[in-house]
């Protein structure tokens, strides 16, 4: 696995450049027929520019809810959240983020290039520039040559990369990814993880990444947010000590395993059923 040269400088970008996401006492309670359900409670978190933050925890811990709050797909019932100093709604109106969902959610009647061009069409980007950006982002995710294919003609991994290209096409600085590789097999997943790290190094984006795979979280992140359910809350925030350059076999090093063990302990602590 080759790593882009820029990658080595990533560590220095993490601090002192202003916060991208800032949550204070953030909470969300859904009213259901069985009474209120607290999806997220009392989350304080600041994410700085250029960070790669993973959210990990069992289902129901509120990690997806937190992402949806950043994206203004849900409204908080407690606390505040700002994105680049704006409210979540203002940030959405300014198209401040790209969102990658669990499923590729490509529109089946659009070819890959027209799927990637969809946000550009909506944002009123002129045709010529649209074409150029589609070309650029598709080559960024190694899908050049598949422009005219329909989604069903591509494998699951390629569809997911197309959906990442779609989120990158309009060049938002913040990338929100909700278990994007959850449905893929491990070989494809390793491959895409490597590509994602490389892309992050190249584009200097801030990435919020939801997963429930410990190795994936440790491998990718500069910071790991461990969460637990009932109510969904943050139980531990782990700063990664791994070097910026991360070949795949870094996952066998003692340092990697130590971080993974801490994440596992954090998950266990939140999981007190006894």
């Amino acid at each position: 696995m080759t790593v882009h040269p820029d990658f080595k400088d990533r560590g220095s970008l993490q601090s002192g450049q202003g916060s991208v996401v800032e949550a204070n006492g953030l909470g969300l309670t859904f009213e259901t027929n069985d009474g209120p359900v607290q999806a997220l409670a009392d989350v304080d978190l600041t994410i700085s520019k250029g960070e790669f933050v993973s959210f990990i925890g069992p289902s129901g811990c509120g990690k997806t809810t937190f992402l949806r709050l950043i994206a203004d797909l849900e409204k908080p019932t407690a606390g505040t959240i700002t994105i680049n100093g704006m409210t979540a709604e203002e940030a959405r109106q300014k198209r401040a983020y790209g969102y990658v969902f669990q499923a590729a959610a490509l529109y089946p009647w659009r070819t890959i290039e027209r799927n990637v061009g969809l946000p550009l069409e909506i944002m009123g980007v002129p045709r010529a520039e649209r074409k150029e950006r589609i070309h650029r982002t598709l080559s960024l995710v190694n899908l050049s040559g598949f422009e005219k294919k329909f989604p069903w003609q591509l494998s699951g991994g390629m569809q997911q990369r197309a959906s990442i290209a779609r989120a990158l096409a309009f060049d938002a600085d913040l990338l929100l990814m909700d278990e994007p590789f959850g449905a893929l097999d491990e070989i494809v997943r390793d491959h895409l993880n490597g590509q994602l790290l490389e892309l992050w190094a190249r584009t200097e984006k801030t990435i919020c990444f939801v997963t429930h795979s410990i190795p994936e979280a440790v491998y990718l992140s500069t910071r790991i947010v461990v969460m637990s359910p009932r109510p969904g809350r943050v139980t531990d925030v782990i700063q990664s000590t791994l070097p910026a350059e991360r070949p795949l076999d870094i996952r066998e090093t003692p340092e990697f395993l130590a971080i993974a063990a801490r994440v596992r302990d954090g998950l266990k602590a939140g999981h007190s059923y006894e």
Partner: protein
């Protein structure tokens, strides 16, 4: 870095669909057709025999069963005409007379077809508009939909003469009143189908539009409308068939002078059963052609959209 080999070699999620089918269909269809024709002949003999026997009796004529079978299949006004009689009548009234003649089935078929098509077009447009309204407006969803359903519980045979008479009184006659009856029948499947179609996008596909801060009209044209296209074709197939029924029903009550409905009515007045059956087959043929045309359009449109028809 190149796309991984493992990914490229995975089979496509969907097989190329139109490969199978077609070839195996003609045989079974022909067998069923042969059975139907045989049954039809049997029934023609059975149903026309009593009248034929009474004829023999009146004339004091001796007869064999071979005579009976032959004669029952060539009556002038049979209870059930034999297939070849209907075929001969269709041939006579389509090929042997000029299409402009009032005795031509082509002429009557065209009259019915034109009001069918007008009514179908208006019904489809009305159905789509109502569906758009219902999907985008909560109050409309609750208030309009029950009326749409209720409208279809009124027996069209009862209301058709009144529509024709009332519209005649306000100076509307000819094509439009008949077309309105077709519209009345055909908008219903389109409303129901398109409401379902406009609501068919998945939550993730809608969330995606929200993350782009897309306007309602963008959500409609770039997501809801394309999602609903397969539903539109399915509803249109039902709608065009009942449009034809509506047009025929509209031609019957007021002593209309032209159209397949008028032909049916005239036939039953004068006991011309062969003429009735010929008109029925003409109507069936028109319906079949219309449905096939829509299916053909569906195939082309869906292929262009990268989808294969169900």
């Amino acid at each position: 870095m190149s796309a991984s080999v493992a990914e490229l070699h995975r089979p496509a999620a969907r097989p190329s669909a139109p490969a199978q089918g077609k070839a195996g269909h003609t045989g079974p269809i022909l067998i069923v057709l042969a059975i139907i024709v045989a049954l039809w002949y049997a029934f023609a003999v059975y149903l026309n025999a009593p009248f034929q026997k009474s004829l023999y009796e009146r004339d004091g004529q001796a007869w064999t069963y071979a005579d009976l079978v032959r004669d029952t299949l060539y009556q002038e006004r049979p209870v059930l005409p034999a297939p070849h009689q209907v075929a001969a009548e269709i041939w006579k009234t389509t090929v042997e007379v000029k299409p402009s003649s009032k005795r031509s089935l082509v002429y009557h078929g065209w009259v019915t077809l034109s009001s069918t098509l007008l009514g179908f077009a208006m019904g489809t447009a009305l159905g789509i508009l109502l569906a758009v309204f219902i999907v985008h407006n909560r109050a409309a969803d609750r208030s309009v939909m029950p009326w749409v359903v209720a409208s279809q519980t009124i027996p069209i045979l009862a209301i058709a003469p009144m529509i024709i008479v009332v519209l005649n009184a306000v100076g509307l006659s000819g094509l439009l009143p008949k077309a309105l009856i077709s519209t009345y029948l055909s908008f219903f499947p389109v409303v129901v189908g398109m409401v379902k179609g406009f609501r068919s996008p998945e939550p993730l596909q809608l969330d995606l539009m929200r993350t782009y801060y897309a306007s309602p009209s963008q959500v409609f044209w770039k997501l809801r409308w394309p999602s609903a296209v397969p539903f539109l074709f399915t509803s249109m197939k039902v709608a065009v068939a009942i449009s034809l029924v509506g047009a025929i029903v509209g031609e019957m009550p007021t002593g209309a002078v032209a159209g397949l409905g008028a032909r049916l009515l005239a036939g039953s007045y004068y006991g011309q059963t062969v003429q009735i059956w010929a008109a029925l087959f003409a109507a069936a043929a028109i319906a079949a052609v219309l449905v096939m045309l829509i299916e053909f359009a569906q195939r082309i449109v869906l292929r262009h959209m990268g989808m294969t028809p169900p």
